[in-house]
Symmetry: none
């Protein structure tokens, strides 16, 4: 892809100690990708002048433009300004106009400004301070034709995002001459392994230039991501053509062509058909209900459900017969069917959907190993159940079971 | 702290495009910090042989030891093995023993192995493959005294974590001669804001040297983290003393002194007391059940529950009276109490626990703004309900409601 590229430098001991999850780099990457700017590389270093200077110099040498986050606070461990001043060979000066702004803010609140805040006026000589309406640290832009341009942003996510949206995205687009956003399209699939999906489309993705194709496996399925330079009409045509070919090939395993969650897709199918749903969950114990209600609006079609963790609950709440449980066990086709039927009847809905499985780590046997799961569905017209043996740990088995139940429901609704 | 240091290299276009949040680097940093190993720097690059090779070479030159994650999948965009082979000047060979293992796994599941999986046997000549019990890509360890040691781990979090816990942490400790792990102790609290907690312990955390104290706020509560050099006996004593002082001061808001989840703490209280639980969830729609069953073993005390998203379900499944709903609404003390009572009676348990609230974004009013939530609890001895108004978006309100329900149950069990 020929989109212009920059680098990111995230600064903070807390990131290297694993105490804080760096959500800023991802947000910036996502934001810039859609603005036609690529991230070539990101680096994370601690609050040390030497490390920051060395990493920033290397990034500028590679890419010419770097956005840094973090290390702009008022306390002694915040050294980003000094590292940058050293690298650019500038002395530190004080932006008295910004100190006046801060002092006025404190005055309005009726408290004296802590003197420590004078640090927030520091910047390398000749750099530009961008006032911060959301906090005390201004963003700083410093440019030198021989070194490159560095943008310093506070690490506080809301302040960083504000600067990006207000000023920095446009600043970067102008500097880099980014004319055309990257065009990104997704095909989200469920029910196929990455290897099976790759096998089935191998000939289509063999040579896709100028379009990039990537397989993105998640616990819940595999996404196919197609991307190209949005300013290249030929590339756009090729991408759209490839999208159609892949969609036709992959068929009903594709559940979305954007970043929709499968639960949202299923909810929309139920809403459009005017159908109502009840769920019955054993090993997932509420995950299916949770997923279905992640977005608001589910009350139109999800009426209720049952967490039937104990066999007694399957019997008492859903009417699964004791004899059935004794003969087949709770993880069986018969039980999954009875659970789906029980949920549908007791909540009086159009559809009942059930999950019963062995999430592990214990409870498996040779005949029913950990991961064995039956998904049941029951409607006025038909009833069915499917068996799966999911890989992964307890959390993954439960996630995969939830996704498989949603996918079985989706496929059933598509057929009706 | 003088702990030996390594570097991390995260590989994947999806990371640079902002499509995937890199949780692996944080997890590894966190895990290694406890094992006495510091992360000096982390770098993220895309799936390009040249970029990977250059970044890896630079990291090895700085630190001598690098852990890489990602780019070990079976598809053409996964090029990590090839970049590493180039850097170390080795050719790619196939580990046929591993292919046999994969083939046997597929045979057991009754499906033929996709031929694309042969890629999973590829490794640089002379490197060591560590078998992967959780997936198809082995970890790869390659060492050359002139270049340094590189450990390649799959990007799938559960597989990466399994390798770290099973083998890699010990491997790194031995290589680096890490003698004294950092001693880290947690006090996890629920029901207090960060500011309230900080105020209540301000005098105790004013000067704690040589022990570090940090406040770590999450959606679900605030953790107090105490840490020191585990090799320093004086520091260890000071840490233990401080831990006792803080615990005494914070009191029953402390629910754990390790990284236990509140749901696990509550489960243990129920188990120890021989009590059984049923839940009734409206706005959380299964999140409470899910949390309670994240760890195995919940079947001893969680018998069942109800997802009562619609008012009709509250009435039909739990026996909440239509008049009550008409008079007070579903988000009310009366409804929370009736839901908890209904759950307890219909599943025949010792305790019933309910959540009913307005998660948003819509549905709020002046009297009952978004975030308004009632938590109800019902036992043979007593019944109670508490009102909360949680801040945050829909997802946060639901998480906070789940945590508050668990905390109300915990405090009730502690009193009995």
């Amino acid at each position: 892809m020929s989109a212009p590229a920059i680098e990111l430098l995230a600064i903070g001991d807390e990131l290297l100690l694993g105490e804080t999850l760096d959500t800023n780099s991802r947000w910036i990457a996502h934001r810039l990708a859609r603005a036609g700017i690529r991230i070539a590389q990101t680096t994370t270093v601690g609050d040390e002048v030497g490390r920051i200077r060395t990493a920033l110099a290397a990034a500028l040498a590679r890419s010419g433009t770097v956005v840094c986050t973090g290390g702009l606070g008022p306390t002694i461990d915040d050294v980003t300004r000094h590292a940058v001043a050293e690298l650019y060979g500038r002395r530190i000066v004080i932006d008295e106009a910004w100190i006046d702004v801060l002092r006025e803010r404190y005055r309005v609140r009726g408290i004296p400004m802590p003197e420590i805040n004078r640090v927030q006026g520091e910047l390398p000589e000749g750099a530009r301070a961008l006032p911060n309406p959301r906090g005390t640290a201004p963003a700083i832009v410093i440019d030198d034709p021989a070194i490159g341009m560095t943008v310093l942003l506070p690490g506080v996510p809301s302040e960083m995002r504000g600067f990006m949206d207000d000023v920095v995205v446009e600043l970067l687009r102008e500097r880099l001459g980014a004319r055309s956003p990257i065009l990104i399209r997704l095909l989200r699939t469920a029910g196929l392994s990455e290897a099976a999906l790759a096998d089935s489309v191998a000939d289509l993705v063999h040579d896709t230039s100028p379009v990039s194709v990537a397989f993105l496996p998640h616990t819940a399925g595999v996404d196919l991501r197609l991307s190209c330079d949005g300013g290249d009409a030929d590339a756009r045509r090729r991408l759209e053509q490839l999208l159609v070919e892949l969609r036709d090939r992959v068929g009903t395993a594709v559940y979305a062509e954007d970043d929709s969650d499968l639960a949202a897709v299923v909810g929309e199918l139920l809403r459009a058909r005017g159908l109502t749903l009840a769920v019955a969950e054993s090993c997932t114990a509420g995950m299916l209900g949770k997923r279905l209600t992640d977005a608001a609006g589910a009350s139109a079609w999800l009426l209720g459900g049952f967490i039937v963790y104990a066999d007694a609950a399957k019997r008492d709440l859903l009417g699964v017969e004791a004899e059935l449980l004794a003969e087949h066990g709770a993880v069986s086709e018969a039980c999954a069917r009875a659970m789906a039927r029980g949920a549908r009847r007791r909540v009086a809905t159009d559809v009942g959907l059930s999950i019963t499985g062995i999430a592990g780590p214990g409870g498996g046997s040779a005949e029913k190993p950990v991961g064995t799961t039956w998904i049941g569905i029951d409607t006025a017209a038909a009833a069915a159940a499917r068996r799966f043996v999911f890989p992964g740990d307890r959390a993954e088995v439960r996630e995969r079971a939830t996704q498989a139940a949603l996918d079985l429901l989706r496929r059933t609704l598509l057929r009706d």
